[in-house]
Symmetry: C2
Subunit: 247 residues, 2 copies
Amino acid sequence: MTVTRLDIDLDRSSPVPLYFQLAERIAEAIQNGELPSGTRLDNEVQLADQLGLSRPTVRQAIQYLVDKGLLVRKRGVGTQVVHGQVKRAVELTSLYDDLRRAGQQPETRVLSIDTVPAEEDVAGVLGVAPGTPVLRLERIRYASGEPLALLQNWLPAGVASLTAEALQARGLYELLRSAGVRMRVANQRIGARTATPAEARLLEERRGCPLLTMVRTTYDDQGRAVEHGSHVYRASHYALEVTLVER
Amino acid sequence: MTVTRLDIDLDRSSPVPLYFQLAERIAEAIQNGELPSGTRLDNEVQLADQLGLSRPTVRQAIQYLVDKGLLVRKRGVGTQVVHGQVKRAVELTSLYDDLRRAGQQPETRVLSIDTVPAEEDVAGVLGVAPGTPVLRLERIRYASGEPLALLQNWLPAGVASLTAEALQARGLYELLRSAGVRMRVANQRIGARTATPAEARLLEERRGCPLLTMVRTTYDDQGRAVEHGSHVYRASHYALEVTLVER
DNA sequence: GTGAATAATTTGTCAAGACATACTTACTTA
DNA sequence: TAAGTAAGTATGTCTTGACAAATTATTCAC
């Protein structure tokens, strides 16, 4: 088990916390091969000494990376780099963000954007009375010029001012964040079913083709529902990829 | 904004760390309504004083619950209980665990369990040479007496000794854990497609019915692949529910 | 009465230090 | 030579203390 010495510069005048700078530097070293899989880091006490940091600060940096699945720690043994198998962490992101990150050029066509009275099921999940006006969005998402998904979303009135133009240029979550909405928790249900004729037509697929479905309700940091979405994806063109990390 | 006083007993002779005892007590109070949604906790300094703990210990307990999505903190303001919308955290669990937790009685029928030469794609993900002997499992999972999913799994030789009897009584992950395998990271791909005639027959569905698919490769804490699975679920009977929490 | 500045409040970061626990290695004994 | 014990190693937990940064409330000046 080899221990690799690492060259780490910390900028003490930077507003970026020291523990975070250290975590990023270690992550970078893992990413670029300076710290290959299986490598053992110097022990915490040594690292703290070398870096001129307190041990709890070093621990905080390491814990951050342990939580991300990049490092593993064992009492009495030390801290080691995990195999670089973490591909995509679980995150609260929208399809638009996902596609952009994957290098695909997402495009959006807004079919409709209106205020409608909330039906019983939507009212229930949004925490409003049935019949309360809510904003309903209906869109098609394209990737590489092909239709990929049909997106229906409902938002309580007043959460954010959304226009078709904005929705075409940016993802919904990005717009909500810009509007100061602090999304925190989302309950998500993933399933599958066959496409209705209308859906098949919009998605340019044959009737009865398999769809991956996702129903999601998102809450802000006060626990208020800020968005409910029902999305269907062409299973022939899209699959959900995610990495689970055991704490 | 009301602050609720909480009765908390800590057992200092217990081997359970103090921060964890505190975290559990707070979580319990949130669960049973003593700490309703929106409640503000006493500030960290006060809590530490009242409980006879150091502030970093209190912080560690709170951070644990923040990571779980139960609490939210804001500098200059305080710590507050998030709305109780967290339903099911993202975890590294097997379908067996999930069904049992959901109160459904999972049953397993082992179709086959053999050592076979690894095909190119399986060899690739398991990190062995093509043709290397690997253990292949083929099972049907039932819930409430109905077929729910077809499960194919491949494990490198020597990871664990598995028998049909054991697989019928317990979930695969449970058996791996009992064998000392420390699963840490899993890459997962969720999609949908239509059932082949053979699949439809085994699942007691009509031909071409929609299936929810999940392909997953699981790695241990040393980064070694310990299992690769390809599972298909009756979309009419199963959907994947999960809660995403933004850090 | 309104706006800007200041003070109070609370979390976020960091340090130094000590002891406990789990794991590994080396040494001793039969 | 094998098994048991002791020592060494490294993370886990906890304490005390101090300062920084963000948010909210209060005060002061116009």
